[in-house]
Subunit: 330 residues, 2 copies
Amino acid sequence: MVNIRDVARYCGVSAMTVSRALNNSNQISQATKEKILKACEELGYRPNFAARSLVTKKTNMVGLIIPDITNQYYSHVSKGVSSYLSLQGYGLLLCNSDRRKDDEIRYLNFLAEGRVDGIIILPVQPRKEDYEGIAKEIPLVMADNYAEGLDVSFVGNDNYHGASEIISHMIKQGFKRIGVILGHSSSSASNERFKAYKDVLKKNNIELDNEIVLNSNATFEDGFNLTKVLIEKGVDSIFAINDTVALGVVKYCYLNNIRIPEDIGVAGYDNIEQSSMLPVPLTTVDQNGNQLGKVAAETLLNLLADESTVPKKIILKPKLVIRKSLGENI
Amino acid sequence: MVNIRDVARYCGVSAMTVSRALNNSNQISQATKEKILKACEELGYRPNFAARSLVTKKTNMVGLIIPDITNQYYSHVSKGVSSYLSLQGYGLLLCNSDRRKDDEIRYLNFLAEGRVDGIIILPVQPRKEDYEGIAKEIPLVMADNYAEGLDVSFVGNDNYHGASEIISHMIKQGFKRIGVILGHSSSSASNERFKAYKDVLKKNNIELDNEIVLNSNATFEDGFNLTKVLIEKGVDSIFAINDTVALGVVKYCYLNNIRIPEDIGVAGYDNIEQSSMLPVPLTTVDQNGNQLGKVAAETLLNLLADESTVPKKIILKPKLVIRKSLGENI
DNA sequence: CTGAAAGCGCTAACAT
DNA sequence: ATGTTAGCGCTTTCAG
């Protein structure tokens, strides 16, 4: 392995001069700089990452902890993060928590060993205690799902707004007994959407029936399985916590010859690519995952540039996408 | 920041003893080990990654270069890699090349700075020259898409087999003028599938018409746009290089009231989750992305454990998934 | 079982 | 504009 001293010797200069050439210092003449850069090429020299970051205390890496990379929404968030980081010369250390708390914590500690300059986390079932320790050690930005009472920057979506819009639309379309498949009870996204559901129902004088409000792990399988339960309880429509769950609902209906929207209305959330291509295209709420990822990365990099920045909350507005799964638009 | 010497001082031992305690050495008494581990907890000590890897020349990191993380197949490959690595105590440095050659090369050099112990790459338009240099510097496993003539391990899918199966099925279903939307002309996957297409046509005495064989960037948009072209050329069916492209085909048909499979047959490749939930479920070929990712990661880690291992090619067999987009099964 | 010395490859700070 | 010195935090090697 060729190191900086080999290059220095080869060029008849000191290691320091080579270092300056490589770091675009202006304390070096153009001539020597060019000579050195050429020598680096010839010798196949590459600066050693570990040595460099040991002294600079910088890694130019960001850690991203995400619940499930195969979920389309999260994959877009990841891409948004990745693209922005790449543009700024940063690398991405991806941690797929697989929606498991213990893996999430394991990754948090793994990252905190100085592997990255900062962390973006989309937490599962967030609890304040899990992050306040880490957040003191390393710059942290929370995204998508919020841990109440934690003093860190957060980038999220306006879940209350998005859910209000779609539930209002459902009622306008004539649905009265709206079943809900929520996520986990500790998910802030799920809770905020549920709150909107309750508020909109009340505003429309529809009584809340907790029998038709179900929690789930927000998977396709749960969507499929819980649809049976809800239909047995006589719902006329289902609001799913995301499109993947809605796809499960649709599949159940499809296999059981239940027509959408004639027999049952279906609403999703996320506007994943395929939701527009179902037998009956899905009415849903569009959250721009790519944008969320980009803004989260931007927020973290700003924090890295100036650690005294005060934590801020950025809430992105999602938008209602009306298709046919709740009937024709009036 | 608390370092190993702080812990040593606190415990009244040498730094070396602390190091031994942390690395599960057996050259240390149980008592001191426990005392030290407890002290680490109390002081909030974390071993420094850069310092450690500077001396051990190990990062316990693997780099993954992938064309597009938002593509469902690639996201499953990523998850397969991630899960296996995590199990083995490795971290994942994810590089989304965005199907751009220049970004891919940039990432390759970025990773080769000693950021990772090895690299898994799913190359775009692979050319031997791009990888042979890097492969000498750092263990490399190629996956999904192969660069001919390169002496590195490869994990891929049997594209010839998969495409043969589905084209044969198309012909059996009565289609005679089968349009094709390929990927890029330098993609080995695309080339192998095209070869199967030609061979199966010949075997069935159907003349090849290059007019209805189109290259593309393998995107949803390309699928949508090229369908118009193919239909104008009078195809009775379309074989798309992947399900995402097929979804584009389906969308075009859907918007133009072209019935599947009555007016046109559609075949995909990849078996993405949503392909079973289209208006007419898609007949496709299932490649287990998760498995491919796992095997690629396994291959790389074996190589890291013993660098003298000879490169090997592992080819996974995909399987035909018959649904309704090519008509009812006979 | 424990410790002392040396050094991994680089850059910050201070010379010149 | 260039060089010297020192040291980042850890582990390897060798000694005891």
